[in-house]
Amino acid sequence: MAWTRKDLVSMQDIEAGEIGDLLDTAESMKEIATREIKKVPTLRGKTVVNLFYESSTRTRTSFEIAGKWLSADVINFSASGSSAEKGESFLDTARNIEAMSPDVVVVRHKAAGGPALLARHLRCSVVNAGDGAHEHPTQALLDLLTIREKKGHLEGLNVTIVGDITHSRVARSNIHGMRKMGMTVTVAGPPTLIPPACQEMGVKVSHRLEEAIAHADVIMMLRLQHERMTGGFIPSLREYSRVWGLGLDRLQHCRPDVLIMHPGPVNRGVEISPEVADSRYSVILDQVTNGVAVRMAVLFLLAGSRAA
């Protein structure tokens, strides 16, 4: 099917066929990373603005590399040290940037719905690079690409997502995407960190780690999002780690072909032990590599598809 959307705001909005197309395109983009000269002229003359209101290393760098490998001009904007500190509203800043004629604005914001707001008000394409605890669609896409690459398919796989589901935009985007691709999703974590309405998204809920991971094809460990917690969710980090942390001992009861994933940043020794993070089951760095390919696919489809 053909890509016709102006924006990529959420996994909830897009259809299984579009996800499949995005993954196919990303898979083809991977070859460029293996070249001696990592550049194709595809988006020459296009401008991509990274508009980041929250800190980010991986995602911003990944979008920047993706844009540059496609020959787009990539401009980075971070809220600190900008007019946002002088009292300019989010929408006004975005409109000012649009007045400089970018083709794609990649936005990360602490408020859920920030990218959707820009998508409604700007003529250029908008990509959601994470909005509060809402969604992070390119992360879900790179996770799906990694799983498809390692397992050969997506449909019918069992995925268990462990940890702070409530504050995780990665979990939310992945649940939408995985359900659409015919996967079974279980979320596991302390009751305080599992949203009550979780089952409405079509996932199973477990409050025992051993039970949740025993039959999983894929285990995705999440970081505790301290920056979004207002307090009182867990008794202590040490207790959380003992009950919900993934160490070698627990890994022994998993399937021998299990994939261990983590969207990063990893807090070693909290949600995942260093031995597991570096084990042969871990595909954490493959996820990062695939992130560039997925973002190249997204920029290509958004910036290249509309009539100029």
């Binding site: 053909a2 395109t25 898979e27 983009m29 595809t42 696919a297 290249g304 598809s305």
Partner: protein, 203 residues
């Protein structure tokens, strides 16, 4: 757009003979040494593999074969209603110092070949690039000329040339099609490339 078949240009035997002749011409000019065939996806890739087979039966040695996807090098991105599918480029050998023969099914405006040459140059520095096409239908928009031609085929712009290969279409033949009476022609629309034309031809 529906199309009416106007004439068969090559049947299975004719198509095979054309590829045999191209194989002989390549060997005669380039010899077998340091030769690589690079097919432009998707039918060019199939034709490159078949020509390589011909060369193997002549020389006893099969040249290296690669496949090139030129989507990322097109000059009409953003001007088309829908985005073409990006496929992967598979050239698992160094191009440095090789005689590379680009292979495509139909040579039309020359824009695909321009894109393919840019793509090849990004991957390495071949000694020579030559061009083999099954059908040259004319109407060039760029100064590009094929070195090996299966069939020269004068066409009008509103006609389309459909290359059918067993691997993709269940049969080997080349036909000229023209749009049904009263339907809009390709003229004035987005610049058609051979690939696009074929797709329309099969629709």
């Amino acid at each position: 757009m529906s199309a009416r078949e106007k004439a068969e240009v090559l049947d299975q035997a004719g198509l095979d003979r054309a590829l045999t002749r191209i194989g002989h011409e390549i060997v005669e000019q380039a010899g077998g040494a340091d030769l690589a065939l690079v097919g432009i996806k998707t039918r060019g890739e199939t034709l490159a593999a078949r020509i390589a087979q011909k060369i193997a039966s002549i020389e006893g040695k099969r040249p290296a074969v690669g496949a090139l996807d030129i989507t990322l090098y097109r000059d009409d991105l953003g001007t088309r209603a829908e985005q073409p599918q990006v496929r992967s480029t598979e050239i698992p050998f160094s191009l440095k110092g090789l005689t590379v023969v680009l292979v495509d099914d139909v040579l039309f405006t020359g824009r695909t070949i321009r894109a393919a040459m840019d793509a090849l140059m990004d991957l390495g520095r071949p000694r020579v690039i030559r061009l083999a096409v099954l059908v040259d239908r004319g109407h060039r928009e760029l100064p590009i000329r094929p070195d090996y031609v299966g069939k020269n085929l004068p066409t009008s712009r509103k006609e389309t040339v459909a290359v059918m290969l067993t691997e993709h279409d269940g049969q080997d033949r080349v036909v000229i099609q023209e749009p049904e009476e009263g339907e809009p022609t390709l003229d004035g629309a987005t610049t058609p490339t051979p690939r696009r034309t074929i797709k329309k031809g099969r629709a």
